[in-house]
Subunit: 346 residues, 2 copies
């Protein structure tokens, strides 16, 4: 603990009451300019630092927000956090950051602790293995404001900031169908319990259906959100007889696409000639791959800013109804889908 100097100490030194010192330091009108100056100087010379803990206890307001992300190493999330910070910093909030590491148990524990620390609100992107939506409902019912981002839990009264996942997934799948004429398209999905997992899968299915393509369950397999798990899932896919191999793979996100690519390479096949691959995120690594990755660009910074703004509004106005905010994506056509290199690809 730091600075033990309190209002009382300053008051005693100056022969004033703690209350007057408080008023002076908070620049209230009902203090004489003279004492105000005296107090401020004394406070400085004594090395006074206001105690927000005590202030929070009185005001029931901590100027603190809990941020829970599933994977700090996935480049999408640091970028979101940067956006969040940009907004919250301007309003004098501090951020508690927790990396749940894709474990729901860890996420739950963190959220409980954050509640005990009396955060003014929570920004959450749920972990891969969420099961228990009721947990979030309890938190919301207890009066804590939540805004979800990216991986949302919907219809439980919390706002959600995400991209148009389903439409984007459909769009990139249609690119594979319409531009390249692929008909045998596989999907490495995320867990269906997670919003983006379900939505992106539905977008993929939308595209297939609208083009009357066969939906082959052998080609739809859960690979999770991480490179390693996706690599294993892709390996399994490649154990199918050669004539049942897909021509293209739609991965649920870029780490998953990277996993798929390395499985394809390990099998002695090549991207995109043997199997094309597309992702979702636009990871920093996507444009740098040997075969640059075609993917959906998610404006992570913008998602962070929107989520933070929405949360601050909810905090100031808890009765406003929840809303779903969609930020739009853009397609990044590179070479992993089979497109030729263009001049202006970044």
């Amino acid at each position: 603990m730091s600075s033990n100097v309190t209002l009382k100490h300053i008051a005693k030194e100056l022969g004033l009451s703690a209350m007057t010192v408080s008023r002076a330091l908070n620049d209230r009108s009902n203090v004489s300019e003279k004492t105000k100056k005296r107090v401020i100087e004394k406070a400085k010379s004594m090395g006074y630092t206001p105690n927000h803990v005590a202030k929070s206890l009185v005001s029931s307001k901590t100027y603190t927000i809990g941020v829970v992300i599933p994977q700090i190493t996935h480049s999408f999330f640091p970028e979101v956090v940067r956006g969040i910070e940009e907004v919250t910093n301007a309003s004098n909030y501090q951020l508690f950051l927790t990396n749940a590491n894709e474990e729901f148990s860890r996420e739950k524990e963190a959220i409980r602790t954050l509640q005990s620390k009396r955060v003014d609100g929570l920004l959450i992107s749920s972990s891969q293995d969420v099961k228990d939506y009721s947990f979030y409902e309890e938190i919301i019912n207890s009066g804590t404001v939540i805004v979800f981002f990216d991986r949302c839990i919907e219809n439980i009264g919390a706002s959600c900031v995400s991209v148009n996942d389903r439409a984007s997934s459909r769009q990139i799948t249609e690119h594979l169908i319409e531009v390249h004429g692929y008909t045998k398209i596989a999907h490495l999905s995320g867990p269906p319990e997670v919003s983006v997992g379900m939505k992106r899968k539905n977008g993929y299915l939308d595209a297939l259906r609208s083009h009357d393509l066969e939906i082959n369950n052998k080609w739809i397999t859960e690979g999770g959100f991480q490179e390693e798990s996706a690599q294993k899932a892709m390996q399994k896919l490649l154990e199918l007889p050669k004539d049942e191999h897909p021509e293209a793979v739609v991965a649920v996100n870029d780490p998953s696409a990277l996993g798929a690519i390395s499985a394809i390479k390990s099998a002695g096949l090549s991207v995109p000639d043997d199997i094309a691959v597309v992702g979702f995120t636009d990871d920093v690594r996507a444009p740098l791959l040997e075969v640059p990755l075609t993917t959906v660009h998610q404006p992570a910074y913008e998602v962070g800013k929107r989520a933070a703004r929405r949360l601050l509004r909810s905090i100031d106005n808890p009765d406003e109804p929840a809303e779903n905010i969609e930020v739009l994506t853009s397609l990044k056509i590179r070479q992993s889908c089979g497109c030729p290199p263009a001049e202006t690809n970044t």
Copy 2:
């Protein structure tokens, strides 16, 4: 704010005193098992959440650590934060994360706020434009424990966890000299006020001196820690007459090396044939570049864990003297230095 249920409320419901309820919930020995059970059940049914704010006010302990990083987008830092969290999480601390965005003013403000929030300690990697070391001294003198990591302020009584910057920088520079025979080697430095800026520059100079190479001030230029600023600095270097161009560039970190590479490309030159480039960090992008980047691998996760462990120890034992902890690096030889591609380069 959430849960308004307090010990008093539970006490009233049960016809007990708040104190007994407190004891029961904290599992103290001097409460009968019966009332303990009654209390715990009641607390659950009433949705009680302990108020850490009040607890902290009493105990002068917040179980909270402030983490200040200069750039959340530089992949090194999220990885460090992951390491920090791994350690602090196990000891039930929460992390306040602040991204100073390389601005010292922002860093100072954040640190003051964190002090007001009464963090138990601070983990700091200083911003690019630090000037005012006395600021940190004041913080330390006020009794707040600081452990610096990566970018340290030394000799002011705070511990520091970093890599062996000087030796590593010398080593990679010597690789350029000894293996490739380069004699005209430039350095894109960081600001000399920042520890790693100075140390890496000294390592570069050490290498030149020990091989009796000319130290040419035209080839030593400050490019900052970020890609854009380094790119500009490199552009300026390339405005030298062609016969005064360096054969190789030692960049202060990987973002700087990336900036240098794009300046070299823009000038119609190639890496490494016209100018070789080496970095420092081992950014996620380093192995993926068109010409994979030779660089110094920093074990970021390990740096984070060590820094966190050191801080927790300092918190529990404030009188222990500060220490400098060095984590060792390893050279990642790839192709940007002119080495041929090997089989096992990742």
